[in-house]
Amino acid sequence: MSTTVETVTRPSTPPSKRKRGGLNAGQGRRGLFLVLPTIVVLTVVIVYPLISAVILSFQKDSGLDKATGLFVEGGPAGLSNYTHWLLADCGTGRSSCPPGSIGSLFWPALTITLFFTVVSVSLEVVLGLWFATIMNREFRGRGLVRAAILVPWAIPTAVTAKLWLFIFAYDGIANHLLGFVGISPLLWTGDAWPARFAVIIADVWKTTPFMALLILAGLQLIGSDVYEAAQIDGATRWQTFTRITLPMIKVPLMVAVLFRTLDVLRIFDLPWILTGGGGGDGHATTTLSILVIKQIREGFHSASALSTIVFLIIAFVAFLFIRFGGADVVQRPPKGARGDKVKLTENPAVEAVAEGN
C-alpha cells in the first residue's frame, strides 16, 4: 500500500520546485489543484473502505427470526466481533468456540501465518542473495541465467499453485523423487507438516526471483573499485561480503524483506489452491486471509473485525520494519543534504517493480 501512496503523491512535490525554496500563492493554489485528484482517489479507494470496514466490524451479523425463519438485522455489536476472534468467544465466554467452528481458528491461523512468514522470507533472503551474486558476475550466458531465474516469478501465482499441486500429488514427481532415495511417499497436501512445507516450497520457488532482482539492483550500485580496494587490502571473501556488500545493499534488501513479509502475511491464493487451507487436523495451512474469506461466507461483520485485526497486525509489522529495520520506502522530505543511503526510488529496477505491483 505504501508504494501506491509514494508513486501517486510524488507529482505534488516535483524536484524542480524544491530548489527554489518557498512557494508563492499562485503556486500553492496550483499545487492544491494538482494534489486534489490524488486526495479524492485515495479517499475513495483507501480511506472509505477502511473506515467502512471498521464501522461494519462493530455491527452484529444478521440473526434468524425464529418466528418467520427470515434473517433480520443484528444491530450494534460493541466489541463482540473482536472478542469473538481474540478470545475465541462464541457467545458464552472465553474459549467457547468449539473445534470445527471458524471462531476457534484465529490463534492457530495467526501462528501458522507468522511461521510461513519467518521461514519463507528467511529462505528467500538466503537464496535471493545467492542468486543475485551469481547474476551480478560477468560470465558467458549471463542473460540466459538471469532470464531463467526470473521465470518462476513471471508465472501467475494461481498457475504456480496448480503446478505444485500436480508435483505434490500422491503419485506426482515429488513422491517419485523421494522414492529414488528410499523414502515412502508423503501425503503432501494431507498431513500437517508436509502440507506446510509444500506451501513454503512453492512460495519460495515463486518469489525468490523477486528478492534476487531487488538485491541485484542494490549490488549493481556498488562500484568495482570498492572491491578492488578490498582485494588490495587483503580482505577475505567473507570479510568483503560482510563489511562491504551487506552494508551497501542493506536498504534494498530491507525493502525487499518488507515487501515479502507483507506479502506472506496476506498470503491467500497459494495455500488456498494447494491445500485448501487443510492438512493435518484440517486447518494446518489456514492463513489469516483464508480465514477472512471463509468467514465472509458466514457473516460479513465478524469478517470485517478479522480483516481490521489483520490490517493492524500488518501495519504494525510494516512500522517496525520502517522504524527499526531501515526499510526506507518513502522518500524523506528534501530538507538538508541527502544521506548517503541508497534510496529505493533512485533505483530504476526497484521502481519498476514497485509500480508493477
Partner: protein, 428 residues
C-alpha cells in the same frame, strides 16, 4: 524527467476521471434500487435473464432457444457463471445484495436454498406461484423447501453411486460388511479397495453425512437442531476411520476430490468408488480409461440394504428483485416438463427430477444406471437444511477429516461436531 512528469500528470488525470466515473456509477446504481422492487412485477411479463453455473454439458443454449422461439416477447437470456460452486454462490449473493433486477432466475445448489430463502431473496412458490410437485422425486422437493414453503423448482438431482469392478466382483455388494469383506480381492491385486471424496471440502461433508446417515445417525433434526451426538453417528464415522487405518481406504484417498477418485478408478487402481453419475459416461468413453467394459454401478451399500446417499443437485429460484416474475414462473414450469427433463438427461447426463423418466425403457436401455440412480435418490437424505449451512458444513468437515485420518478420536470428533453445529445454528 520532463517526460516522466507528463506521464505522471496524465496518470493523475486518468485517476481523477476514473474517480468521477466511479462516483457517478455508484450514484446511479443507488437510485435505481427502490425498496418496492421486491413486490413489483408479480404479474408482469417480459424478457428475463437466467443465471446458472458454467453450462459444461451444453444443455441451456438449446433449451432457451426452444423457449425463445415459442415466446418471442418474453425472451430468456442465458448468463453463465463460473464452474466453481463457491464462486457461483458468492456471485448470486453479491447481485442479491445489490438488489439487481437483471438476475431474474438463479440456479440454486440444494444446500443454498435455506440461506437464500431466509435472506428473503427467493419468491416463495405458493399462491399465484404455486407449483405442482406431485410427479417429482420427493427428496428433490424436500431439498428445495424451507420452513414448509417451496422456494425453488427442482431442476436436476444427483445421488451417490457405487462404481465397482464387475470383472473382479461379479455381484455388487448389497451391504457395507459385504463390501469391506471383498477388500481381500483388492489386496491380492495390489490395488486400493474403496475411495470416496475425503479431501477437506464439501465432498467430505457429503461422504461423512452418508456414513452417519447410513449407520442410522442424524446430523440435525427436522427443526435444524444438532442431533449428531449419537452412538449411530459414532459407528458411521468409526467405520471410515477403521478402514482408513487398515488400508482398505488407500492412504492417498484423504486427498481425493471427485476427479482424483475418478482418475484412480479409470486407471484400475480402485475396486470400489463412491461418486456421482457423471463418472459413468467418462469411465466408459475416456481414452485413458482401462476399465471401460469392466465396471458396473450399484446403489451405495447400507447396513442391510441400500445406504443413504447425500442428495446433490440444483433448483431454480425466482429472484424477488425480478421485474417479470410471471415470465420467470412460466419458464420454471417449462423446465419441469418431461420433454426438457428428458433432454437434460440425454444431452447432459443430468439426473431428472421427474420420477417417471427413470422408467422410460428407451432411456434405460441407453443409460443402464438409471434405475440404480433412482434408488439412490429415493433413499437420499438432504444435507442439513439450514440458513447457516456454510458454518454447519465447516463443522462437519473440520471434525470428520481428523477423525478419519486418526488425528482425533471419533468420540471427540462427534462431540465437537455437535458443539460446533450448535454454536453455528444458535443464531449468534
Amino acid at each position: 524527467m520532463a517526460h516522466d512528469t507528463r506521464r505522471r500528470r496524465a496518470r493523475v488525470a486518468f485517476a481523477a476521471a476514473a474517480t468521477v466515473a466511479l462516483v457517478t456509477a455508484g450514484c446511479s446504481s443507488g437510485s435505481s434500487s427502490s425498496s418496492s422492487s421486491a413486490q413489483a412485477g408479480a404479474s408482469s411479463r417480459g424478457p428475463i435473464t437466467f443465471v446458472t453455473g458454467k453450462d459444461n454439458s451444453n444443455v441451456w443454449a438449446p433449451t432457451i432457444a426452444k423457449w425463445n422461439s415459442a415466446h418471442p416477447n418474453e425472451k430468456v437470456t442465458l448468463k453463465e457463471q463460473t464452474d466453481q460452486a463457491d464462486q457461483q454462490h458468492d456471485d448470486i449473493v453479491q447481485h442479491m445484495q445489490a438488489k439487481d433486477p437483471s438476475y431474474d432466475i438463479v440456479t440454486v445448489d440444494v444446500v443454498w436454498t435455506a440461506e437464500f430463502a431466509a435472506k428473503g431473496w427467493l419468491v416463495p412458490l405458493k399462491g399465484q406461484f404455486a407449483m405442482d410437485t406431485s410427479k417429482l422425486l420427493k427428496p428433490t422437493v424436500v431439498a428445495a423447501t424451507y420452513n414448509n414453503t417451496l422456494y425453488a423448482a427442482p431442476f436436476a438431482s444427483d445421488g451417490g453411486l457405487l462404481y465397482y469392478r464387475k470383472d473382479l466382483v461379479p455381484t455388487p455388494p448389497k451391504t457395507l460388511d459385504e463390501m469391506w469383506s471383498k477388500c481381500s480381492i483388492a489386496k491380492s491385486k495390489n490395488m486400493g479397495c474403496y475411495a470416496g471424496q475425503f479431501s477437506k471440502y464439501e465432498g467430505l461433508t457429503v461422504n461423512a453425512a452418508e456414513a452417519i446417515n447410513t449407520a442410522g445417525g442424524k446430523i440435525v433434526d427436522d427443526q435444524g437442531k444438532p442431533t449428531v451426538d449419537s452412538q449411530e453417528s459414532r459407528k458411521g464415522l468409526q467405520m471410515l476411520a477403521d478402514h482408513y487405518k487398515n488400508g482398505d481406504i488407500p492412504k492417498e484417498a484423504i486427498t481425493f476430490q471427485e476427479e482424483q477418485g475418478r482418475q484412480a478408478f479409470e486407471a484400475g487402481k480402485l475396486l470400489f468408488l463412491r461418486n456421482w453419475p457423471y463418472v459413468y459416461n467418462l469411465a466408459k468413453t475416456d481414452g485413458s480409461s482401462v476399465v471401460k467394459d469392466k465396471f458396473g454401478v450399484a446403489p451405495l451399500p447400507g447396513l442391510s440394504g441400500p445406504g443413504a446417499s447425500s442428495l446433490g443437485g440444483h433448483s431454480e429460484g425466482i429472484s424477488v428483485y425480478s421485474k417479470h416474475k410471471a415470465t420467470a414462473f412460466d419458464f420454471l414450469k417449462f423446465i419441469e416438463e418431461d420433454a426438457q427433463q428428458k433432454f437434460f438427461m440425454e444431452k447432459g447426463s443430468l439426473a431428472p427430477v421427474v420420477a417417471s423418466i427413470y422408467d422410460d425403457a428407451a432411456l434405460v436401455a441407453k443409460y443402464p444406471y438409471l434405475p440404480t440412480l433412482k434408488t439412490s435418490i429415493e433413499n437420499a437424505v438432504p444435507r442439513p437444511v439450514t440458513p447457516y449451512y456454510p458454518a454447519v458444513t465447516t463443522a462437519i468437515q473440520d471434525n470428520a477429516y481428523p477423525a478419519i485420518k486418526g488425528d482425533k478420536t471419533v468420540d471427540q470428533a462427534i462431540k465437537d461436531m455437535q458443539a460446533a453445529i450448535k454454536s453455528a445454528t444458535s443464531g449468534g
